[in-house]
Every structure is written in structure tokens, then in C-alpha cells.
């Protein structure tokens, strides 16, 4: 099985969710997969904003990954925790 679980800490969600991904997915695809499990399920959508992904850290200040790189290039592995959060397109 090429899929492996990533732990999605989606902005404003109550639960940290297990989202399947694969090494060849882009970060944008991973963000969309995480959004599918949270937005409209437990979290309100924020139209006009875009999603970014960063590694979960204690002080919530990690740099976001570029949306175009792959999960593999981002160095993400099984049970890595990511923050998925809304931001303005310009930021």
C-alpha cells in the first residue's frame, strides 16, 4: 500500500484527523484531502481564502510548505503532524 497516514490538524477543527496521502501527492493535493475531511463537516469554509500547510510545531510558527512540492519532497512520513490553515491569497 503506497498510502500512508498523515495527521491533519485543520484550523478550527476539534479533532486531529487521519488523512491518507502518498509520496507523489503535491502539498496542494494534501491540503485538499485534509479540507475534505474538515470543511463542511466540522469547520466552516472561508471563501476567498486559500489553504496552506506547515509542520505542526509547539509555537505554531513553522514556514508553510510550497503548495507545488510533493509530499515526499516535503519530507513528510507516516504520522507526521501538519497544520492546515486558511490564509489570504496574497500572504
Amino acid at each position: 500500500m503506497d498510502n500512508f497516514p498523515i495527521l491533519s490538524r485543520f484550523q478550527h477543527d476539534c479533532h486531529v484527523k487521519v488523512v491518507d496521502t502518498q509520496a507523489s501527492d503535491t502539498i496542494a493535493e494534501l491540503a485538499a484531502a485534509c479540507a475534505h475531511q474538515s470543511v463542511g463537516v466540522h469547520v466552516k469554509d472561508q471563501p476567498g481564502k486559500i489553504l496552506r500547510v506547515r509542520p505542526t510545531t509547539d509555537d505554531d510558527n513553522a514556514e508553510p510548505f510550497s503548495p507545488d512540492i510533493t509530499v515526499k519532497d516535503a519530507g513528510l512520513a507516516m504520522y507526521d503532524c501538519i497544520d492546515v490553515y486558511f490564509t489570504d491569497p496574497q500572504s
Binding site: M1, F4, P5, L7, R9, Q11, H12, D13, C14, H15, V16, K17, V18, V19, D20, H36, Q37, G40, V41, H42, V43, K44, T56, M78, Y79, C81
Partner: protein
């Protein structure tokens, strides 16, 4: 034949001890099953249980208790209470019986370990009664729900839950195997008799019995009162054991034992007690919020009791107080969202009036948990019921086995705490759960959560349906659905129409 008064013979009889002649004391009482702390037997012989009872008295009292519990049940068996009580109270019963019935049987085995391996003769004497108590509790709580199985198969989880891999059962099993089934007699009595029974359940049963009477379930109220009266007695095994440990230089160990067990039991207690109190019991019959109950009945008392015996409040007390505000609200959301995975029918119980009550009792609830339920309510109002069922699993804590969650909305507090051990990554919900793992990694390291089992290939097929079947859903009974058939959204529909 004339009988002596109890006080004339009790101390001699209950202090009966002997010096083994054919084996060494260490062979008779192996430290790993009895006392691993090396406290001299003379010290254990000072164990003085606060509650004294003879076997004759015990049998007489227990017979009366049983007689009362069964006769109330028989008298009310033709009442229409269960037809009229609603699914909220039925959820309280199903959750209670499924979680508790066979755990009581485990408790019987745990007490039996003290009966055999307790280093003090009076402890062994007292635990004998505790063992019989727990057996009675298991019998009662298997028999009472059995009568309800014909009405609803979900009541059969009282018998079946412990034999399944349901996620909630795995959580309970992990915790009780840890504190009750896989400990020596002394550590076990601190963990179970003191941290769990004295600290949490004894008082909770008084509240639960009151709640049952308030909703008109006098059979259950009477049953719980009957059990609580036993618990109040055998829970007292813990305090004298702690006093002996503290007196013999084992304060640090005693403190750690209590801190582990109190947290482990709290994480379960908050779900099995907090959710019913704040969500399942009908609004008009709630007499205290869970938070009010905790502050009035548990917090102050627990701190006073540990300080009285020379220990301190747990190091994680601030985190515990924060958990009182959050854990059960998170798990109400989670259990409701993943309702097909449980054996009861949890009502959403967040109508406009219920939300107002929650906001009153937990200021800030609406701004946080309200945002979570807003999305669900909008989906239901728009006819998108399918969107109320998540298509993935939440990550599960490798200690308490409960979904890792925390305050939603703007606070966004959910966070996984990780720990690497021998090349494996473990996920924890809180610092205390992570800390407990680090106190004894060999004890915990091989256990796999439901999510771990899904990705290790143990659960086949590795799909949501496969997970449900693995957990006993559709096998023992159907899984849960909203216990109020979504009637709690009607107030919002009316508001929208105005």
C-alpha cells in the same frame, strides 16, 4: 449457641497471620504480585481498615441489598418507564452497562489478587468482601440490562462489549488492564481503591443515582445505590496502604501511582459521566452540570484526601481543571459524529435551549464548540445528513485510546503530542498521557491503537466498513444513530423561518 459481640473477637480473627514453614515468605508472597516496595511484614500488620464487618454481618446486609434491588426491579418491570424515557436516558444506560458490567468482573479478579497476595492479613480479610462485592455488581449489571435486550439489541453490549474490539472498549480495557489486572496487590489498591473508587466513582454513583431518580428510573437508582454502598466500604482499602507506604519512605512511589491512575480513570470518567450529565439527561432533569459536580464533589475532596495522607495534588492539576471544561465536550462531538461506531444512540442534544444552558454552565461554549455544531446543524437543516458522517478516523491517543481532540473554533487547541521510543512514533492527547508512557515504556510500548491496527494490516478490509465490523458493529448490534432523530435542530429551523 451464644455469639460473642464482634468487638470481642474481630481483631484476633482478622489479624490471623502465620509464618510459613515449607516455603519462604517471598515464595508465598512474590513481590511482583504482592509488595514490590520491600516494606516489612510487621509494617503491613499495622494495616487498620476503617470499616469493620464480619462475614455473618456481611452476608446479612448483602442479602438485604440484593433483595431490595431485585424486588424493586420486579415491581417496576411492567411499568412503561422505558417506553417513555427517551433515547437520551437509554444512552445513559447502554453506555453504563456496556462499559461497566464486565469491568466489575475484572474488579472481582483484582480484589481476589489482594485476597491472595495482600501482605497484610486485615487487607486480605477486607478484600475478600470486596471480591464478593464486585461479583455481585457484575451479576446485577449483567442481569438488569438482559431484560431490556428484547426491546433493543444494543443492551446486549453489557454482555458483549468486553469481548469486542470496539474503540471505546479498547480504551477501557487498556486502562483497567493497566491499573487493575496487571499490577501487584499494593500498587493496584492505591490505583483502584483510592485514585479511582475513593477519588471518582464512589461520589459519582451518588450523583448518578440522583439523576436516575430524577428521570423516574427507580430500578436503576436503586441498583446504583446498592452498588455504591459496597463501594464506600471496599474503597477504604486504599488509604491505610498509602499511609504505610508514606511511613516507610515510599512517598514518591505512592504519589506516582496515584497520579497515573487518577489521570487514566479521569479520561474515561469524563466520557462516561460528563457526557450523560451535560448532554444525555434531558435538560429539564439536569440538576448539576458536570463541571459543577466535579468542583462540588470531586476536586476539593480529592486534594484534601491526598494532602491528609501526606501526598500532594497531581502535578498536572491545572491541565486537569482545563480538561474538566473541555474533554467531554470534545468527545460528545466525536462520539456523535462517529455515532455508527458506538453501541448507543447519542442524541446531539444541542438545541437552542440546550446551547443556552451549555453557554451558561461553560462560558465560551458557543464561540468554541458552537462553531463545530453550527456546521453540523447547517448540514442537517439543508438536508445534507451524509455530511455529518466524517469519512476518516480521528487519531487515537496511544495511552487513553481516545480521539485526540481539544477546543475547536478560534481557540483551535487540538494538538498531538508525540514521543519516539525504540524507533516507533507514539501519539498522545495530553502531557499526562505522554508522561504515563514514559514512566514505564516496556509496559505500554507494544499496544496498538485502533488506528495503528488499521495501518498495520490487522483490520481487514482496511475500510470504514471493515473498521466497524472489527469493532463489533453489525455483529453484536447495529451501531448508533442520533438518539433524538435530529429533533434538536427544529428550534433552529423555526428561528430561520422567523
Amino acid at each position: 449457641m451464644a455469639l460473642l459481640d464482634r468487638h470481642e473477637w474481630y481483631d484476633i480473627a482478622r489479624d490471623t497471620n502465620w509464618t510459613p514453614g515449607y516455603v519462604s515468605r517471598e515464595e508465598l508472597f512474590p513481590p511482583e504480585l504482592s509488595d514490590p516496595y520491600g516494606i516489612p511484614v510487621e509494617e503491613w500488620e499495622t494495616f487498620d481498615e476503617p470499616y469493620k464487618v464480619s462475614y455473618r454481618e456481611y452476608v446479612k446486609i448483602q442479602r438485604e441489598k440484593d433483595s431490595s434491588a431485585y424486588s424493586v426491579k420486579a415491581a417496576l418491570s411492567r411499568s412503561k418507564f422505558h417506553d417513555e424515557a427517551g433515547e437520551g436516558w437509554a444512552s445513559v444506560l447502554k453506555l453504563h452497562y456496556g462499559s461497566v458490567a464486565l469491568t466489575e468482573y475484572q474488579a472481582c479478579q483484582f480484589q481476589a489478587r489482594m485476597v491472595r497476595f495482600g501482605p497484610s492479613p486485615s487487607m486480605r480479610n477486607m478484600a475478600t468482601f470486596g471480591m464478593l462485592d464486585e461479583l455481585r455488581h457484575a451479576q446485577l449489571q449483567l442481569f438488569f440490562p438482559h431484560e431490556l435486550v428484547h426491546r433493543d439489541r444494543q443492551y446486549d453490549w453489557a454482555h458483549e462489549a468486553a469481548h469486542t474490539n470496539n474503540w471505546a472498549v479498547v480504551g477501557g480495557r487498556h486502562a483497567f488492564d493497566d491499573i487493575m489486572m496487571c499490577r501487584d496487590a499494593i500498587t493496584g489498591t492505591l490505583m483502584v481503591s483510592f485514585a479511582f473508587e475513593t477519588g471518582l466513582t464512589n461520589l459519582q454513583m451518588i450523583g448518578l443515582s440522583t439523576d436516575a431518580a430524577n428521570v423516574g428510573d427507580f430500578t436503576f437508582a436503586n441498583l446504583i445505590t446498592s452498588i455504591q454502598s459496597d463501594e464506600a466500604r471496599h474503597a477504604q482499602l486504599g488509604t491505610p496502604s498509602i499511609e504505610i507506604m508514606v511511613r516507610n519512605g515510599r512517598k514518591k512511589e505512592a504519589q506516582q501511582i496515584l497520579d497515573i491512575a487518577f489521570w487514566r480513570m479521569w479520561r474515561l470518567f469524563s466520557i462516561t459521566v460528563g457526557i450523560p450529565m451535560d448532554y444525555y439527561i434531558p435538560l429539564e432533569q439536569r440538576h448539576l452540570s458536570f463541571k459543577e459536580f466535579m468542583y462540588e464533589w470531586v476536586n476539593r475532596q480529592y486534594v484534601r484526601q491526598v494532602e491528609d495522607i501526606g501526598l500532594e495534588r497531581p502535578w498536572y492539576w491545572d491541565e486537569f481543571l482545563d480538561d474538566i471544561e473541555n474533554h467531554h465536550h470534545c468527545q460528545q462531538g466525536g462520539i456523535w459524529s462517529w455515532r455508527p461506531t458506538v453501541w448507543w444512540n447519542p442524541p446531539g442534544a444541542v438545541s437552542p435551549e440546550e446551547r443556552q444552558w451549555l453557554e451558561e454552565k461553560y462560558p465560551g461554549w458557543n464561540a468554541s464548540y458552537g462553531t463545530y455544531w453550527d456546521v453540523i446543524t447547517d448540514n442537517l437543516l439543508a438536508g445534507r445528513e451524509e455530511k455529518t458522517h466524517p469519512e476518516c478516523l480521528p487519531i487515537i491517543c496511544n495511552m487513553c485510546q481516545i480521539p485526540i481532540s481539544n477546543r475547536p473554533g478560534e481557540p483551535w487547541k487540538a494538538r498531538v503530542l508525540q514521543h519516539e521510543h525504540e524507533g516507533r512514533r507514539y501519539n498522545f492527547c495530553t502531557e499526562p498521557c505522554r508522561w504515563i508512557f514514559t514512566t514505564d515504556p516496556d509496559r505500554y510500548k507494544d499496544h496498538e491503537s485502533i488506528v495503528d491496527r488499521l495501518y498495520s494490516g490487522e483490520i481487514q478490509p482496511p475500510t470504514l466498513d471493515g473498521v466497524l465490523a472489527y469493532m463489533g458493529i453489525g455483529v453484536v448490534s447495529e451501531g448508533g444513530h442520533d438518539g433524538a432523530d435530529y429533533s434538536w435542530i427544529e428550534g433552529f429551523r423555526a428561528q430561520a423561518a422567523e
